[in-house]
Symmetry: C2
Subunit: 422 residues, 2 copies
């Protein structure tokens, strides 16, 4: 815990013993207690979308609370995205969080608050943010090394720049979809097995990429970078990301300008944005960095995050990637992406790149898990996968340690592969 | 002229002899006659931005015309961007263009129309579109070959995929700026001359890239590509683009995911969006393509464009890139970018990549003109440039043949290099 942290960790609910956290019943291991309070956007049939937070098996309707005068609201919550609230900044985020903790833990507030709790089963969760730009990093040393070995077997698996700067590229923000959106198998030019020449058709090597992203709330100025020390002044929270990838298209197209169609067909994000304050207790020291990074990449605080991911295919765990193993941290990524003077906009999404640990079962994509399809993974039901098949449902979920020994859930991001449209 | 073309070419003003084109005096070689009528967004001091078209030395205020009942308007024109009008689609674009030609050529309309003409000197021209995603191609064979020779001297200058598909990457849409925006020299990790190790600092190899972009108006559906034959149903018009580049940063960062900070600090676009209809007479056969492209890249119509660009540094011509030499055409680029099922959004910007012809003076960037700084260009005033210096103003302008022997101007995009902020 640092003096610079916000919210639940430094007071309020976090100081309470577990089980006394809220006046409504919350499954203590479900990860949606008062120590979390992630923000999302939901709709109930026939009603306009609005902002809520998850608590137990409910969504707490912030637009409803605001209309009842129970929380401050400057057109933040009767909205189809979190962007209006995200731009309000850290003081507003902190105040709202503290107010929600009070409302959910003070039994006398129950009669007023309870009418604004809606069972999750009764709502549809939407994409929480209006995405401005989408940047995807490549910050797992294990992932980058494995991919280098697979795609460039004769070269150095890690490019010479990899430990000097957090390598990244811009993705397509228009195809960042909410969890649950059907994933239509993309077509493109690729080399099919046994073929000499590339041909056109549906990807034969469709893959998942288990990632974690952070979302910018407060813009920054052109010409000024965002130093690692200002990370909390700009970043609203974290989401889970599945950066679906067509490996055969990627192998053919990526020289020299990087991936394009192999990524741009779809990226899925989880419905709940977990605020930074909820993740403060999950901060850990990242791996040692050598050579020492350039001064603009140095960070006074430890910003590794002890998030535990799971990748499920049709409900069966295929991998357990450990986010704490990421080489480059989120404040370093943000400092790098802005050091050239590119300003932040509200809704900018920065994803980590595939999260892979050192062990085989910790690899966050099938490319690595199956070594480009050579060694399929066997699922619990006895079926095998080299790459994704039509009908497969991929789910990524994540948990972290929260305040007072609680569990923080990042929820899940899911998608089912559909064949190309006829 | 094809049967599928719209607007001035197939009727109205285009059939008139030159000089009888409009009731107001228009410099016939200025490129802003009734055969052009490009759309932009302007503001007059103290007034809200709105949509206009350029005619001679004036902007015709479409919001004003609409308020007077002279043109149809469904909340298209009292707007800070062209997006609302661009989404309206081809029938609306065609009808509005025909109406404007009538109003500007029928002398009896003059008393009603003239009050809505504002001298260009009295307005500020703004960024014409709200950019959704920004894609940058790499479609000049001469440019790609030169860059390959410079950056990868030991390899094949053209990557094996280059003639199979229009190579591209996503750029940063949040830093697509209107013409005239100051360009602050970006910093980043780069290798300085004589240094063994990379270091951090302002780019020492700041460059221009002369490009031409097209803008999507009508969205497309996820999972469905936009065939080359549907180009006109989705694309509103063309702009000039300067994709400012930091070559030293680019050389260090681009492996394996492509350029990032070397491009994302700034891209400038011209204020006027020239509608497709105005450019129909500029269509020419593109260079022969071998090997024959995949079926989704074939195009029944010639879609080379005979645009003549000029790159000026401090008012002195440094290069004259011929757009007609581009290997991949705009409909091919759009078909490629969507063949994986990625949908178009209104405001998507697709730039051509640097336009370079076969001759040295036709190269659209300093990297090529000076062979990575080895052979500086001498300007008319006797000064030399290896790369851009602080204070340099770069202007790209473009012209094309229009209907009835007219000239179509794409206007210009300009920017001045400023030192890093203190």
């Amino acid at each position: 815990m640092t003096t610079d942290s916000d919210g639940a960790g430094s007071g309020g609910a976090a100081e309470r013993p577990r089980g006394d956290a809220a006046w409504l019943e919350v499954d203590e291991d479900g990860g949606f207690g008062v120590e979390n309070l992630p923000y999302g956007v939901f709709s109930r049939s026939g009603e306009l979308p609005r902002v809520g937070v998850a608590i137990g098996g409910y969504v707490l309707d912030l637009a409803g609370l605001a209309a009842a005068g129970l929380v401050e609201d400057r057109r933040w919550f009767a909205s189809g995205s979190l962007n209006a609230f995200m731009v309000a900044g850290r003081a507003a985020w902190r105040a709202n969080r503290a107010r929600l903790v009070d409302l959910l833990t003070d039994g006398s507030a129950r009669p007023e608050v309870e009418p604004h709790l809606i069972p999750l089963a009764d709502v549809e969760l939407l994409r929480p943010i209006e995405v401005a730009d989408y940047v995807d990093f490549y910050s797992s040393e294990h992932h980058a090394t494995n991919v280098g070995r697979i795609f460039r077997p004769d070269g150095n698996p890690l490019a010479p720049n990899w430990k000097r700067l957090p390598v990244a590229y811009h993705g397509r923000s228009g195809t960042v979809y909410p969890s649950g959106t059907p994933i239509i198998r993309p077509s493109g030019q690729r080399r099919a097995p046994g073929e000499e020449e590339p041909s056109f058709g549906p990807s034969l090597r469709l893959d998942v990429e288990a990632e974690v992203g952070f979302v910018a709330g407060v813009p920054s100025s052109a010409g000024r970078g965002v130093p690692t020390s200002a990370f909390r002044d700009h970043v609203f929270g974290f989401v889970l990301v599945n950066d679906w990838s067509a490996r055969d298209v990627q192998a053919l197209e990526s020289l020299p300008l990087g991936p394009f169609l192999s990524k741009s067909f779809a990226t899925s994000i989880s419905p709940w944005v977990v605020p930074l304050a909820a993740l403060e207790p999950a901060r850990v020291a990242p791996p040692a960095q050598f050579p020492e990074p350039a001064p603009y990449l140095r960070c006074d605080e430890p910003w590794g995050l002890d998030l535990h991911l799971e990748v499920l295919i049709n409900g069966q765990v295929a991998a357990r990637p450990p986010f704490a193993s990421m080489y480059w941290t989120a404040p370093q990524q943000l400092a790098h992406a802005t050091v050239n003077g590119a300003p932040l906009r509200t809704g900018d999404l920065f994803a980590s790149g595939t999260v892979s640990g050192p062990e085989r079962e910790q690899r966050g994509c099938l490319l690595e898990l199956t070594w480009n399809g050579q060694d399929p993974v066997e699922l619990a039901d006895g079926t095998k996968r080299a790459f994704l098949e039509d009908g497969d449902t991929v789910t990524i979920r994540g948990k972290a340690p929260g305040a007072s020994g609680s569990v923080i859930s990042l929820g899940e991001v899911t998608g089912t592969v559909h064949p190309p449209l006829p």
